[in-house]
């Protein structure tokens, strides 16, 4: 059976070049970058080279990059680190209802610790209201954290505008750019972002490595205290091979970005058009323009997402459900609910997230097999009969 992968927002394959770049650091070059002897010198340089690659992707300076072990760690580091560093100035944080659990659960934790958190609503397109943001800011507001691109819908937040508001009000601005980095341009010279999180395995790098951009002058309480690593900002012996692979992946993402955007947009259009033509009662979720080029989030009325995913899986197609059902909770997608979708539609959503290696043929195969699957599941659904 052909294996088709439409779940690039969950994770991406490691590119061959990335793997090749990592190999020496798992074989002969295994020294500790903190060592002053021969074994450490090459790895120290490799880590610093990778830092430059990450900085180049984001257009910042290498000194502003802190390597982490994941996007989740970066989000925790940025949000808790800023909150604790500024707790004498205020205790109010503003975020949105559609953030990733890495941000939401960090904010919930801070609430237990005496911080006030405002969770901004989004409209049916998945976008926050800038006026609502402005009026939420109080003299006690120390942090705004709003994601760059949503992982479920691909919807892009108005980052430039948020940054300008944050700067004007003197509030620190963090953005979770885990889904945006490598897929669309991010220029930290042009955006008023103070803290930005990215992750290696979402841009064809390895799992277990990420980076936090912290603009020069932004002070954070470390999340992981320890040795002098990362200029005292994050303790722990560096994941050298992972960092090197991540750097390589950033190089490639930057080089190929324009081409990939064109490629992915065309595929996504083909997918959404094909599905819409062949299957009634569907809804594409999220703002149709302000979106990542690779993400299509589609609700299939009257059927539940996981069932669709299992059926797709049996045909070799990997996709993902908006519903967190798959990861240990039975809640419907908090993102789609926040966009005012009904519970049924939220449960019935499927996320197709495309990537580098996907082809038009793969899309066509999906469009061919999907209608009978949906029809069969609908025929089993008590909601469908009721609706007809």
């Amino acid at each position: 059976m052909n294996k088709i992968y439409f779940d690039h927002n969950a994770t991406t394959p490691v590119l061959d070049e990335v793997f090749e770049a990592m190999v020496p650091f798992l074989k002969e070059q295994w020294g500790n970058p903190s060592s002053i002897h021969w074994a450490g010198r090459g790895t120290r340089k490799a880590v610093e080279d990778a830092r430059e690659s990450v900085a180049r992707l984001l257009n910042c300076t290498p000194l502003e990059i802190i390597f982490t072990s994941s996007g989740t760690e970066g989000d925790n580091h940025a949000i808790k680190g800023l909150a604790y560093a500024k707790k004498d100035k205020g205790n109010h944080i503003i975020t949105t209802k559609v953030e990733h659990p890495a941000v939401l659960n960090t904010c919930k934790h801070l609430q237990k610790d005496g911080f006030d958190v405002t969770y901004l609503d989004v409209d049916t397109d998945g976008l926050i209201d800038l006026n609502a943001l402005k009026s939420a800011i109080t003299p006690r507001t120390i942090l705004i954290t709003v994601m760059f691109a949503n992982n479920e819908t691909g919807v892009l937040s108005p980052i430039k505008e948020i940054g300008d508001i944050a700067k004007e009000k003197g509030v620190t601005f963090h953005t979770d750019a885990v889904q945006a980095a490598g897929k669309i341009p991010i220029d930290l010279q042009k955006l008023n972002i103070d803290l930005l999180t990215i992750s290696g395995h979402k841009l064809y790098g390895p799992k277990g490595v990420g980076a936090l951009f912290a603009r020069r002058g932004v002070r954070l309480v470390p999340l992981i205290h320890g040795g002098h690593h990362e200029r005292n900002r994050r303790g722990g012996t560096e994941n050298v091979a992972g960092i090197v692979g991540f750097g390589k992946a950033c190089d490639i993402a930057l080089k190929d970005m324009d081409r990939e955007i064109t490629h992915l947009k065309a595929l996504r259009e083909r997918l959404e058009k094909g599905i819409a033509e062949k299957i009634p009662h569907i809804k594409v979720n999220g703002h149709l323009e302000k979106r990542l080029p690779n993400t299509a989030n589609i609700s299939f009325e009257f059927v539940e997402g996981e069932s669709l995913l299992l059926n797709l899986d049996m045909k070799g197609i990997a996709a993902s459900s908006g519903s967190a059902c798959t990861s240990g909770s039975l809640e419907p997608s908090h993102v789609l609910l926040a966009m005012s979708l009904s519970h049924e539609l939220s449960h019935g959503s499927v996320r197709f997230s495309l990537g580098k290696s996907n082809t038009a043929g793969e899309i066509d195969y999906l469009i061919e097999i999907m209608p009978p699957i949906v029809e069969r599941m609908r025929s089993m659904s008590p909601l469908y009969a009721a609706a007809k």
Partner: protein
């Protein structure tokens, strides 16, 4: 994640549909939870002679629905009433922990259908 039996019942669900002129109908679950099951039964001489289901739900919800129809077909009502959600899960070689609650409602649907039948009988 799912056992082979679950996947079998999910991909080849038994007794899908609605019994014509059902003796009893049970509907449980709600959209918030993500699973809705409708079970219709035909009862003759206190025996369940036919049973069909329709389910909106995840793999576990569909498999448990299918399994409960197999377990109950041809059974006396008193026997059928003894079937619990745990019986169904067991018959499927278990369910993932997160699925034990919300998506394991098929026996509830069955009991609700039997109750409906009894209510109708009482009303006669």
């Amino acid at each position: 994640m799912y056992s082979e039996k679950v996947m079998d019942h999910f991909s080849n669900p038994r007794n899908v549909g609605e019994v014509e002129n059902p003796s009893g109908t049970g509907m449980v679950g709600n959209p918030a939870c993500g699973d809705i099951m409708k079970l219709t039964i035909k009862v003759e001489n206190d025996k369940i002679t036919d049973v069909k289901f329709k389910t909106f739900g995840c793999g576990a919800a569909i498999a448990t629905s299918s399994m409960v129809t197999e377990l109950v077909k041809g059974k006396d009502l008193t026997e059928a009433e003894k079937i619990s959600n745990a019986t169904v899960a067991e018959a499927l070689d278990g369910l993932p922990p997160v699925k034990m609650h919300c998506s394991n409602l098929a026996a509830d649907a069955l009991h609700s259908a039997i109750e409906d039948y009894k209510k109708k009988q009482g009303a006669k």
